[in-house]
Every structure is written in C-alpha cells, then in structure tokens.
C-alpha cells in the first residue's frame, strides 16, 4: 500500500467519521423533532402515497382505514344541514330555514355549499348517501391551503381555473395530495374557514366569530388566546363520533348539570361555561355567584362583540338593491374606512365594531318563521327567529344577543317570506340581472313552493345569542354597566336591579330606616352631651 493509498483511506475514514459526527452531534444537541399532538404521520401511509386528482379520491383512501367514519358523518348536522328541534317539532338547519342576511341556500347551492362538508352539492338532487361525497379535508387540513371557493358546489380547485367563468381571474389549484398527507385534528382555522365567513364574508353574520379568532390574543378571547390557553373550537365543542356538540338551533341557556367529570356518564352539553367552571365559579365574591342564577356568564364576560378589528354586519336592507350607474353597471359604495356599505346586487349594510350586545331573557327555546308560515306586513317587524324566555319560568337567564336587522323580499299575495335565486351566472340569478321576479320565481320553484309573481319587502329581525370572544376577567362588565338608570339592562323586565329600579314602597322603607338611624344617632349623641354637662356641673 502506497502513501497515496494510505492518505485516501484516511481521508475516506475521516469523511465517514465527520458525517456520523455531524448527524450524532446535531441529534445530541437538539432532540429529534417529534409531533406530540398526533400519533400518526399520514404521509407514511401507503394509501396516501399517490397523486390524488379529486376530493372523493382522497375520501375513498381515508375510508380504507377509517371504516366507520362515513356512517358517523352521515348522521350529523354538518352533513345533513338539517336539524329536527325536539321541543318545537320544527325541521331546521340550513337546508330548510331562511335568514335575513344571505337568505337561503335553495337554488344557490353551488355558492353556499362551499361550506358543506361534502363534494358536489350543486342542486336539490344531491345524494347524501354516497360515502365518497364526504369531504374529510375541510375539517382535517393542517396546511392552511385547502380552500373551497363559492360556485364549485363544495369542490376545491385542483388545477388552475378561471373563476367565476369569464371573469379573467385565475384561481390557483391546490396540492390536494399534500393536504391529504398532512391531515390532523380540526383547528380554529378549519372550523373558521366556514364559521368565520358565514353570510359570504369575514364576520358578516356571527358577530363573535371572525378571522381575528384564528390566532387571537388574550384580550380578544381568554380561552383561545394563541399565546395562552390556545383552545381550539373542539376544546369546548367536544366531538363524539364526528358529532360536534353545541348548536344554535338547540342551545343550553341554563346549565344546571355542573362540571363534566372524566369517566362519569354525562349527556349534557359540554359546550357551556358551567361544564368546566361549575355553577359557582366566583371563589372570592359569593355575590357574583348569586348573579349567575339570573345572568348568563356571557352577559358580564363578553362586554362587546366584533372586538378583533373586523366589522360585523348589523343590518342588511335588500329593498335598496338594484341601482345601476349611468352606464348601466352595478354600483359599489364604501364608507370612509373602505368598507362596503352598498352593493347593487345586495343592497345597503350597516357595520359595527366593538358592539354592545342587546339583552333578553332566554331559556334555550328557539323558534323560526319558516318559508311556509304566513306573515302580515302590517304586523310590523317579522321575527325570523325568536328566543323563548321569561323571568319566571325558572329556566331563563339574561343573555347577550346580536340582533340582525334587515329588510328582505316576500310574497305579498301568498303572504310568505321567499327564497330568491341570488348567486349564479345565469339569466335569473339576481346578482347578475338585478331582477327580483325572476330570481324569486326560480328560488321558490327550486324549493317546491308557490310564488304569486309579486315581490314586496318586509322588515325582519333575527336573534343569535353571543357566546364567543370571552374577555379576561379584569375586562368583565363593571357593576355600574347594569346597575344604573340607563344601563345595559334598561330593557330587561321582571327583576329588581338596584341602581336601575325604583320602588316607592322599598324606597320609602329604606329612607325611613336611614332617617330613624340618623335620628337615633343624633338623639344618642345629644343625651351623651347633656349627661356630660350635667356631670361636669355636679
């Protein structure tokens, strides 16, 4: 062996040693990254190690392992968009109700079902029994790139495409294979992809859920604080067999069941404050626990909604829609902050930030005015839904509520609300043609309901209890916010609120006792004074 060979051998040995050293040293310096939030790296499963061309292909792969998941999903409100209220007997859910903002999904499926947990719900004939129509990714995406644009019936864009067709705008396709290989638990981002944007935009409907809640600070939400407790939605909306607990259609207004204890069978709603905090959460101030027998936690602990810098729509007036400019084009007007307050296709909006809620007695009963119910314009404002409750039923608490106010189309001959065809690049879509008769005719036909051919507008209100954006305790309402003449609870009846209320008898008795106490003190002092003078004189 020559000197060169020796040198080469030594060099090679050094190379291997250095390589091993670099790997082992790095490994020793910093522990191997390990995901502690999951037990499975889905990219290692051979079922997912392929190129996917569509959502249903991914679902088929998911179901090879998660064999029972489809059956579970098919039972849920998130899948059916349908809910039978056991108390009122009303069939609710997005599939059936209407609201006074974006109104209804009937004939608008391709737009609205971008928020359905399925693929392909483009008309009333969608097959809810097909397993592969379930969209696993919309809830289990962890990449943050999974999107389902309106107009595609719940399908994502896999390849670059022009959307809306003819607009010249190109939507980039997403790497659905990457999304499939990185699935994980649901998150604020996945739930928020729909619930932050309900009504067609950020914060439109929910006042207490918007994009600011994706990574909120402590002031905005003490539970979801991204640098603190970092709750996901599912921390409270505890899910069982894919059924997400907590529903606005059937809420728990007063939770008498106390905290949920691990191992104990408990069928009560886990998404209440009480299920964690119990019925007496104020350890130092028993008086505050007494308040909790009449006042919902949310009333004091959510002093305002839309606090994250995103304005929520407070009213929507469809009756002003339809303007065109001198060239016949649709009009958009913005306020001084650049926020849209008028659109030809939608009408006039008012917006609000840091909005003080309105307050109502609420016992958990929610009833809806359905499209089949008769209404009278002469009766004034029609309630799209209304909250049951009274100060005396033993089931009600005073709750904070966002009240949606609007004016929407109705049929003055048949005396019903109507479901117009708004979204759609066709001859009857209102957003394209601004013609109400055609739009309502198409919508009502799709819903299988009669339409007289006449359209008028009626004022409406809708009531949603507020329960998110819980502030830190130091930012809870101060006493004077309610205990004052024109405080927040000025309109609440049936309960005596010191500082707000005046009862002549109670006031007379109180002032009388105070006067007697004063007279007693003065008399006692006078007697002491006289006795001392008398004593000094002796």
């Amino acid at each position: 062996m020559g000197l060169n060979s020796l040198r080469q051998s030594a060099g090679c040995a050094l190379a291997v040693l250095l390589y091993l050293f670099s790997v082992t040293t790095l490994a020793a310096d910093e522990p191997k990254p390990l995901k502690l939030t999951t037990t499975a790296d889905h990219s290692k499963f051979k079922e997912l190690q392929r190129e996917f061309q569509s959502g249903p292909e991914v679902t088929k792969a998911c179901l090879t392992c998660h064999t029972e998941a489809a059956g579970q999903i098919h039972r849920t409100k998130h899948w059916k968009w349908e809910h039978l209220n056991p108390d009122s007997g009303q069939t609710l859910g997005k599939k059936h109700i209407l609201n006074n903002f974006c109104i209804s999904i009937a004939s608008n499926y391709s737009a609205c079902t971008s928020c359905h947990i399925g693929y392909g719900w483009k008309d009333a004939n969608f097959d809810f029994s097909v397993k592969e129509n379930i969209d696993c990714l919309v809830c289990h995406d962890t990449t943050g790139i999974y999107k389902k644009p309106p107009g595609l019936a719940g399908n994502p864009v896999i390849k670059d495409m022009e959307l809306p067709p003819g607009s010249g705008k190109i939507v980039k396709g997403i790497d659905i294979t990457k999304v499939a290989q990185k699935v994980g638990k649901s998150s604020r981002d996945t739930c928020g992809a729909c619930h932050f944007f309900g009504g067609g935009g950020d914060a439109v409907k929910h006042g207490d859920l918007d994009s600011s809640m994706a990574a909120p600070d402590r002031e905005l939400d003490v539970h979801m604080d991204a640098t603190g407790l970092d709750f996901t939605c599912a921390t409270c909306h505890k899910t069982s067999s894919h059924d997400v607990a907590g529903s606005r259609y059937n809420p728990t207004a007063m939770d008498k069941d106390g905290v949920h204890i691990r191992g104990k069978v408990d069928n009560s709603n886990p998404a209440t404050c009480v299920s964690c905090h119990g019925n007496g959460p104020h350890k130092k101030e028993e008086r505050l626990n007494q308040h909790a027998t009449k006042v919902a936690c949310q009333t004091c602990h959510i002093p305002a909604f839309a606090r994250g810098g995103v304005a929520t729509k407070m009213s929507w007036d469809w009756s002003t829609a339809g303007e065109r400019d001198a060239e016949g084009k649709q009009v958009v007007r913005k306020d001084d902050k650049g926020r849209v307050i008028y659109e030809s296709r939608k009408g006039t909006f008012t917006l609000g930030e840091n909005v003080k809620p309105e307050y109502f007695w609420f016992n958990g009963d929610v009833n809806y005015t359905l499209v089949t119910d008769k209404i009278e314009k002469s009766e004034g404002v029609i309630r799209i839904n209304w909250l049951g409750g009274s100060p005396t039923d033993g089931k009600s608490l005073i709750w904070p509520v966002k009240v949606f106010r609007g004016s929407q189309p109705f049929d003055p001959i048949n005396k019903t609300l109507v479901k117009p065809h708004t979204a759609g690049n066709d001859d009857t879509g209102y957003w394209k043609n601004l013609v109400w008769d055609k739009a309502v005719e198409t919508g009502m036909k799709d819903a299988g309901l009669p339409f007289s051919g006449k359209v008028d507008f009626v004022k409406t209100e809708m009531f949603w209890p507020i329960t998110h954006m819980v502030a830190p305790k130091e930012n809870a309402l101060a006493c004077v916010e309610c205990h004052s003449k024109n405080g927040r609870l000025a309109g609440i009846q049936g309960v005596y609120i010191p500082g707000r209320d005046a009862n002549k008898l109670i006031d007379t008795i109180g002032w009388g006792i105070a006067l007697l106490a004063l007279l007693g003190s003065l008399g006692h002092g006078l007697m002491l004074f006289v006795a001392r003078r008398k004593h000094q004189g002796e």
Binding site: N4, R7, Q8, A10, G11, C12, L14, A15, V16, L17, L18, Y19, L20, F21, S22, V23, L26, A27, E30, K32, P33, K35, T143, G144, I145, K147, K172, I174, D175, S187, D189, S211, S212, A215, D217, R218, D225, A226, T227, G228, G308, G309, V310
Partner: protein
C-alpha cells in the same frame, strides 16, 4: 492534491448530514404565524416601518430575505430576533416569546419561513398581518 478529494467529500458529507437533520423538521406555520404577529409585527407597528404583510413579498423574495439574514437593511440579523437569547430578553413583556422560549432557533425560523411562504403574494394562501 489527491488527498484533498476525500477531505472535500468529508466536508460535503458533513453539510449533508446537517442539512438532512434540518430537513427532518416539519415546519409548523401556525407557530410561525403566532411568532410573526406577536413578536415581529407588534414591534414593527411600534416602529416607523409599520407592519409588513406576508403578502407584501413573493415566495422567492421571502426566501431570499431569510437566506440573506439581513434585518433593517443589514444593520443586524433576522436570526437575532428569533434566537433564544432575544426571546429571553423580551419574554417578560411578550407572551409569544415566553411561550416559545425553549423552541430551538432553527425550528422557529423554519416555522416563520413556512408561514411567510404560505402567506406570500404568490403563496398558497396570501395573508395579512391581522
């Protein structure tokens, strides 16, 4: 001269080992988002520069920026503001720095990069600061 080849190979393998170890980390864009907003943006809005949306740059521009490691036009480094020592210095007043105090520097930098690339102008989900 011939003996230089194995040495060069050794150096290359060393770098490979290092890069292999680094690439094993699956960056967490959500953690990057929190740090970027709570540390980077919160400081920037207090400074004349103002906030910088991830969508203000392209993916290539963000990659170059992080690779160049020049903060404030080269007055200091980007890594400095992601380092454990920096986090330790502000953690009493910054909850994100406190929460991620023990995260290895490179992991946190990768997290931030993942958020910026994803939220870039031409990224998969262009993002603002809010």
């Amino acid at each position: 001269m011939k003996s230089a080849k194995p040495i060069a190979a050794a150096v290359l393998l060393t770098l490979l080992g290092a890069s292999f170890s680094a690439s094993a980390y699956d960056a967490d864009w959500k953690r990057g988002r929190i740090y970027y907003r709570s540390v980077c943006t919160s400081c920037h809005v207090a400074m004349p520069v103002g906030s910088i949306n991830p969508s203000a740059k392209t993916m290539a521009e963000w990659s170059s920026y992080i690779q160049a490691d020049k903060h404030a036009k080269g007055k200091d480094t980007v890594k400095q503001y992601v380092s454990k020592s920096y986090r330790a210095s502000i953690k009493s007043a910054n909850k994100a720095a406190e929460k991620f105090a023990e995260v290895p520097d490179q992991e946190l930098l990768d997290d931030i990069k993942a958020f910026l690339i994803k939220g870039a102008k031409d990224g998969e989900a262009p993002a603002s600061c809010s």
